[in-house]
Symmetry: C2
Subunit: 518 residues, 2 copies
C-alpha cells in the first residue's frame, strides 16, 4: 500500500460511515447548516475490576484541534464516496452533496468549548461542547471521541500510578504493547497524567522532551553469545554512556551476577570520575530484589543510585511493592524511606492499555438545536435514567469548600450565575429525592471549568505547554478530598444540576414521553 | 503542532529510545553490521478472565512491511538525536554514529520470514524471524512488536466472535472507543479475523471495501426536537436511502414505537418497490427484543429483513443471546434458526480493545549471531523456564493427523526435514518428561508455515488480498480440533521441539549457566 493511502486513513475519513450518510440526509432535508450543540461526556469512571478510579484527567484536546485544523476532503476521498453504491446498485452519495462536501467539508464553522487538558473531570459533565452546522458537527463525532476518550483514559491511569508511586518518577515504556499508533496519543496522555518521560522517541521529539530508556536483555545476550558475558556487556555500555549508566541486571541471575557485575562497573566509573545512574529490575520479586540490591549498592558506597522497577507494574502492584518494602527492608538493615526515594517506575502494558478497563465510554449527544435565534433543548429518553443526557446549553462551575477542597461540579443553564446566589441547590442529575443545599458562605471559591477553544473554526486558546498541564493535574488532584483520591473504593464526587436545569430536564422528558405516545 | 510533527511520530522514531542507544553501542563496538537473528513470538494465548483463546490469528504483517519500505531517517530526526545530552551535559549521540545512521538507517539490509496473515498460530513458535545487521534489526524491535502484537490480538478476538455468531455477519464498529489511531490497524485485523465490514471509512477506502453503518440516536433526537418525531426521522432516512434502509429502533421505546414506526416506513418502501434492509437494536435485552421484533416484522410480511444487534457485544454475550433465543423463541411462535439466520452483529468496544486482555505479550528475542559464516545460537537463561526462548535458526512445520486436523506445530533446526523421518519425537519445549512420538503413517500432511517476505530489504512475497486472508483464517480454524476452538477452557495445542532442537537448547542452557558462574 502506498504512503498516501496510510495518510488518508488518518484524514477526514477517519470517521464512521454513518456520519457521512447522516450528513447527506441532513443536506437533503435542508438541515445541514442548522446550528446545533453536542455535548461530549462520559458516564462513569474506569473500573479496573479489583479497583476503580474516583476521577478522570482530561487529555487529547490539543491534538484533536490540530487534526481539525489540518483536515478537509481531498479529491481522492470524494472519489471514494462517489464510488459507493446502494443495495440497488445506484450511487449512494449524490453529486450535489459531494460538491457541497468538497467545498464545505471542513471544521471552519465549528465553535468548541472544553475543560482543558490536565484538569480533573467527572462523569456526566460536558468535557467538550461542540457548536456548529449540523452536518460537520455530526461528522466530527467519531474523530472527537477517538481523540479524547483514549487520552483521558490513559492520563487517568498515569495519575493513579503517579499517586501510588508517592511522587517518584514514572516512565512510560508501553509502546510495543500499545494498540498500534495509539502509542503516541497514549504516551502524551501519560505525560499529562504524571509520567515524567516516555521511551517513545517520536513523541518525545514532537513534545520537545528527551526520551528515556536503559538497554534490553538482548544486549546482554549478545555479549554472552560472543563469549564476553554480562560483565562485558555492562562494560561496553559504561564505556559509551559513562554518565548515563543504567544497567539491566536480571538477564542471568539478579543478585548472583547482575548486581555484583553492575557494582564492579560502577566502581570503574567512579574511579574515572563519573557518577553511575543505577540499575533496572525487570522480573522476579521486585520488593525483595530492590531491598537486596539496595543493600549491595549501599555497601559499595552507591547510596543514591536509582533502582528502576519494571515488568507489568500498575498502581496496585506498586502499592504492594511499597507496602512490602516498608515491612521487610528494616529486617535487612535497609531504610525503607531511603530505598523508596531512589525508586523509579518503568510502566508499560498496564498503563498504555489501561489494563482492566481498556476504553472510556465517552459519548457525544445532541443537546440543543438553534431555531429562530434561540436554543431548543434536546433530550433522549431511555429506560435507563442514567442514559438521559443533561439538555441544553450549559456551563459547569467547580465549587470549593472552606478547606479549599473541590466539593461539587455544578451544571447550570447558560444564563445562570451561581456566584449570585446566597444559597445553592445541588440536585442529583437523575434522582429526584437526592439534593443538598449549600450556603455561599461555605464556598471558598467558584471556578468555571470551560474555556473557549475554537470560535467559528479559529483557535482562540493558547494551548499550555506540557509542564503547565502537569502542574494543573497535580493542583487539581491536590484539591480533591482524600476519599476521592484513594485507589480502591473511592467516594463518589458530586456532579449536580441547578434547580433550573433540573426543571428543564424534567419538562423535556415529559414532553418527549407525550410525543412518543402520540 | 504542525502536520509534519505528527507524521514524524509515525516514522523511524516510532521506536523506544533504548534501541537507539543500543545501536550506538553496537556501532562503537564494531558490531552494528554483525548478522543476527531475532525471533518474534508470544508466550500464551489471550485470557479474557472468564474465558480464553485456544489459538491466535496472525495479522499486521503487510502494514509492517509497508512501514519498513517507506521509513528512513530524515534530517529533522537526526537533528533531534544530535540535541540529546547525557547527564553530564555532553552529546549523547556522536557525529560518526549519526552520519552512519543518516546514511544506513533504513531496513534495506533486513531479511524477514513470517507466518502469513490470516493463519492460525500458537504460543512459543516464531511468527516472524528477522535476519540482518544488528543495529537496524535492534531498532526494528519496537515498531515490529507494535505492528504485529495488536493486530494479532484483534484478529484473534474477531475470529472468536465470528465463531460465536455461527458465521453470521460481524461488523466492526469500534472506532470511537479504539486506542487512538490504533483504530485503523484494529479494523483491518478484525476484517482478517472474520468481520465482513467495518464502519471505519478510511480503512475501507484503503482496502477497497465499502464501509457500513446505520444511523445514530442523534438523528432521531434531532427530528424529535424539531417536532417531527421518530417516524419523521425514519421517513427522512427511507427517502434518501430507499434501498439501504436500516433503522435504529431503540431511541424512544423499542417495541412501543421503534419497531412499529420502522414497519410503517418499510410498508411505504415496499409499496414503492424497494426492499427494506432491517432494524438495529442497541440496548436492552437483545435476545428478548430480537424475538419480539422478529415476530412483529414477520407478522407484517418482512420475514427476511436483518436484525442488527449492537451494544457491548463479545463472543460470550453473543453465545448467551443465541442460547436464550433457542430457548425462548418457540414460546412466541418464532423459529429460532430462522431468527438467528437474520441476525447481524455490530461489535465495537470489546472487539477493538480486546476487552479482558487488551495486549498480546509478543516479544522479540535474539536467537543467533552469525560468526565466521555459521550461526552461533543464543540463549537467555531465566528462573522461569517458560521465559527461555528456543534458540537458533528454526523452521516450523504443521502436522495434520489422519482426520486432516492440525495435531502439532513442530519446531526444527534449519537443516532438519521432518518429512524424511519414519517416526517423529515431539518434545515439550520446557519439560523434560513430556514428549510423544508419532509415526509418519499417522500424519496425513505436513506444511512449513513460514514464507520469505523480505530478502535484503526487497519484498519477495505477494501479499494476498483481504479475501484470501479471510479464507485462510477460515480454513485454518476449520482444521483445528473442536477442543482447541471452543470459547471457554480450550485444549492446549502442542507446539513441540524436535529431539535435535531440544538437545541444542539444553546444551546452551548448561553453557550459559557455567559462564554465569565464572
Amino acid at each position: 500500500m502506498q504512503a498516501a493511502a496510510h495518510r488518508y486513513m488518518e484524514g477526514i475519513l477517519f470517521t464512521d460511515m454513518y456520519q457521512l450518510t447522516m450528513a447527506q440526509l441532513y443536506y437533503r432535508a435542508g438541515l445541514h447548516e442548522s446550528e446545533v450543540l453536542f455535548d461530549h461526556f462520559y458516564r462513569r469512571n474506569p473500573n479496573y475490576d479489583s479497583h476503580q478510579a474516583g476521577y478522570c484527567v482530561a487529555a487529547g484536546l490539543e491534538w484533536l484541534i490540530d487534526w481539525m485544523q489540518q483536515t478537509h476532503f481531498h479529491a481522492e476521498e470524494i472519489d471514494y464516496l462517489r464510488r459507493q453504491t446502494s443495495n440497488a446498485g445506484t450511487r449512494l452519495f449524490a453529486d450535489d452533496f459531494l460538491t457541497w462536501l468538497g467545498k464545505h467539508g471542513d471544521f471552519s464553522g465549528i465553535s468548541l468549548r472544553a475543560i482543558p487538558e490536565g484538569r480533573v473531570v467527572h462523569p456526566n459533565e460536558p468535557l467538550t461542547i461542540v457548536q456548529g452546522p449540523l452536518a460537520m458537527a455530526q461528522i466530527l463525532e467519531t474523530p472527537l471521541l477517538n481523540a479524547l476518550n483514549y487520552p483521558t483514559l490513559i492520563a487517568t491511569k498515569a495519575s493513579r500510578i503517579t499517586e501510588s508511586g508517592r511522587g517518584r518518577a514514572v516512565l512510560e515504556f508501553g509502546m510495543r504493547r500499545a494498540q498500534g499508533h495509539g502509542a503516541n496519543a497514549g504516551a502524551r496522555a501519560a505525560l499529562i497524567g504524571g509520567a515524567v518521560f516516555t521511551s517513545n522517541v517520536g513523541v518525545s521529539q514532537a513534545l520537545g522532551l528527551p526520551a528515556k530508556g536503559t538497554h534490553a536483555h538482548s544486549m546482554v545476550q549478545l555479549f554472552m553469545t560472543l563469549g564476553e558475558g554480562e560483565l562485558g556487556a555492562f562494560r561496553a555500555y559504561a564505556d559509551v554512556y559513562p554518565d548515563d549508566c543504567l544497567l539491566l541486571v536480571d538477564t542471568v541471575d539478579t543478585l548472583g551476577s547482575g548486581v555484583p557485575n553492575a557494582i564492579y562497573v560502577f566502581e570503574e566509573l567512579r574511579r574515572k570520575g563519573h557518577k553511575p545512574v543505577g540499575i533496572r529490575l525487570d522480573s522476579g520479586d521486585l520488593a525483595y530484589l530492590s531491598i537486596q540490591s539496595a543493600k549491595m549498592l549501599d555497601d559499595a558506597g552507591f547510596t543514591d543510585t536509582q533502582i528502576v522497577l519494571s515488568g507489568d507494574l500498575d498502581e496496585l502492584v506498586i502499592w504492594q511493592i511499597l507496602t512490602q518494602i516498608a515491612a521487610e527492608a528494616p529486617r535487612y538493615g535497609v531504610d525503607p524511606d531511603h530505598l523508596i526515594s531512589r525508586l523509579v517506575y518503568g510502566v508499560g502494558t498496564r498503563l498504555i492499555t489501561s489494563w482492566g478497563e481498556p476504553a472510556l465510554g465517552g459519548v457525544y449527544k445532541l443537546v440543543a438545536v438553534r431555531e429562530d435565534g434561540h436554543w431548543n433543548s434536546a433530550i433522549k429518553i431511555s429506560d435507563t435514567p442514567a442514559k438521559m443526557p443533561n439538555p441544553g446549553y450549559k456551563r459547569v462551575w467547580r465549587l470549593y469548600d472552606r478547606r479549599g477542597k473541590a466539593t461539587a461540579d455544578l451544571l447550570c443553564l447558560e444564563d445562570e450565575d451561581p456566584r449570585a446566589a446566597a444559597t445553592l441547590t445541588l440536585r442529583h442529575p437523575m434522582e429526584h429525592a437526592k439534593y443538598r443545599t449549600i450556603a455561599a458562605a461555605d464556598i471558598s471559591a467558584m471556578e468555571e471549568l470551560h474555556v473557549d477553544v475554537l470560535r467559528q473554526g479559529q483557535v482562540v486558546y493558547d494551548f499550555p505547554p506540557l509542564d503547565a498541564l502537569r502542574r494543573q493535574r497535580n493542583d487539581d488532584v491536590e484539591r480533591l478530598d482524600p476519599g476521592i483520591r484513594r485507589l480502591v473504593n473511592p467516594h463518589i464526587y458530586h456532579v449536580s444540576l441547578t434547580q433550573a436545569l433540573w426543571d428543564l430536564k424534567q419538562r423535556l422528558i415529559a414532553d418527549a414521553r407525550a410525543q412518543a405516545v402520540r
